[in-house]
Amino acid sequence: MSSTHITTGGYQHAHHYKSAGDEFEASKQGMWLFMVTEVLMFGGLFVAYTMFRAMYPEMFHEASKHLAVNLGLTNTIILITSSLTMVLAVIASQKGQKGRILLHLGLTFLLSCGFLVVKYFEYSGKIHHGILPGGLFTNTEITHPKAPLFFSLYYVMTGIHAFHVIVGMGLMVWLAVRTMRNEFSPAFYTPVELVGFYWHFVDMVWIFLFPLMYLVG
């Protein structure tokens, strides 16, 4: 038995799987199923967005102008770059390069911090101008009576997204701790890859949120 353990890099898969490969595939498929639930959760919000935009196109046009495109664009660049560093962390884990895993996880974490800082300035700017969701809306520059609806969608969609970013940062810390404990090897890097999936999904959601929120034509 012990020789087997060595050939799989010291990793012993859970006993109910035939092999580490099976375990990896099962974990990955589980993650894909989770991604499906995420698509449908954000999906409900995108449906609400689509319907209200179809009902009040001129309101979306007016309200969207009050979002800061440069901040949204900055965050898009940050998030795409962080997706890239996350991929590089996964590649490093597949190759067993501990130092590079930590480097790229660290970069991803820093970029996520950057995303949240930009978000903080964005939100506080909006709140300062009385641009709040629903009944809390007190801004007088935006004249369309249904405008609070747009900002309700804005806060809920970007808010849930930002929550995902925070969760992702926690997962990165968790991965870094496990990396430092030498728990990952080319034979076992499932958590790194799956957190990578999660992070790319967060990126994917933002890829849609950015043009839909900030760039309403």
């Binding site: 038995m1 020789s3 087997t4 050939t7 799989t8 035939k18 092999s19 580490a20 490969g21 099976d22 990896f24 595939e25 990955k28 498929q29 894909w32 199923l33 991604m35 499906v36 698509v39 449908l40 999906g43 409900g44 995108f46 449906v47 689509t50 319907m51 935009r53 179809a54 009902m55 495109v69 664009l73 898009t76 660049i77 795409i80 770059t81 997706s83 890239l84 996350m86 991929v87 590089l88 996964v90 590649i91 597949q94 190759k95 034979a187 990578g196 999936f197 790319h200 999904f201 990126d203 994917m204 890829i207 849609f208 950015f210 043009p211 839909l212 760039l215 309403v216 034509g217």
Partner: protein, 270 residues
């Protein structure tokens, strides 16, 4: 035991997965950044309604790059890709079915030969008869009422023959349950009465026009009292055409809806 070990060893070797070349990862990252630039650039150009489609299209391309390369769907087992793509299929169904309901609500009222049910009233005080109201009401009467109430309003239309009670003779002086006055007729049109269906599918203006035409067929109308107006939530001092007056809800009876939906050809001929 040694067999078992060998099996493990063998599968341990199988556990070599595709490792994305770093160059590919960086190239895709750059492509995503370039496409982000394109998104912003394109948004600055006015393509009208196409802007939404273009923005979505670029987003789909970007998301596909992320999914195929960063998430490795391109190199993964096909079933994982199928699982993920299916979720978007269901999202599309979600959007489409919601759209067929939400975005087409009100079409039952609006389509057809009638004036749009929504929008501001053209009239100021439509409970006071004008020749314009009566003329408009006559046209509507010939479309909506003749079948039961008859061309002369005597309640002798062919569709009304089998009804019990019989359709109202609109030329009669007596027996008006809601009163032979503007508010009374309007109330009947809006809320229905016995076999008389609800006509709240018609716009408020249309119902007032019909009211004035119906009153013009019979003897002189009674005067509307303050209580009559109050019951319909109309302020008779305002010039708002009694918008939304007396309506219980925005719904229409099932049979009216079926009639409106099921026989578009007949409606077109009317």
């Amino acid at each position: 035991m040694s067999d078992h070990n060998e099996k493990h060893q063998h599968e341990g070797q199988e556990h070599h997965h595709f490792i994305l070349p770093e160059r590919t990862a960086v190239a895709v990252g750059l492509a995503l950044l370039v496409l982000t630039g394109v998104t912003v650039w394109v948004a600055g150009i006015d393509f009208g309604r196409l802007n939404f489609t273009i923005a979505l299209l670029i987003a789909v391309v970007k998301a596909s790059l992320v999914g195929l390369v960063f998430m490795g769907l391109k190199y993964d087992r096909k079933e994982n890709g199928l699982i993920f793509v299916t979720s978007f299929l269901f999202l599309a169904i979600f959007i489409a079915l919601t759209a067929t309901d939400l975005l087409f609500r009100g079409d039952v009222y609006v389509k057809g030969p009638l004036v749009a049910a929504s929008g501001k009233s053209q009239f100021k005080k439509p409970w006071i008869s004008t020749t314009e109201l009566v003329a408009k009401g006559k046209t509507l009467y010939e479309q909506q009422c003749v079948a039961c109430h008859g061309a002369q309003g005597r309640g002798d239309g062919p569709a009304g023959a089998g009804l019990n009670p019989k359709p109202r003779n609109l030329t009669a002086a007596e027996g008006w349950k809601n009163g032979h006055k503007a508010t009374g007729i309007f109330k009947t049109l809006t809320q229905g009465l016995n076999q008389m269906p609800v006509f709240s599918s018609l716009s408020t203006d249309d119902r007032w026009s019909l009211t004035q035409y119906v009153l013009s067929m019979g003897p002189a109308a009674e005067k509307d009292t303050a209580a009559d107006f109050a019951a319909l939530k109309i302020d008779p001092t305002k010039d708002d055409g009694g918008a939304g007056a007396g309506e219980e809800s925005k719904s229409i009876p099932v049979e009216v809806a079926i009639d409106l939906l099921a026989v578009p050809e007949q409606k077109a001929q009317r």
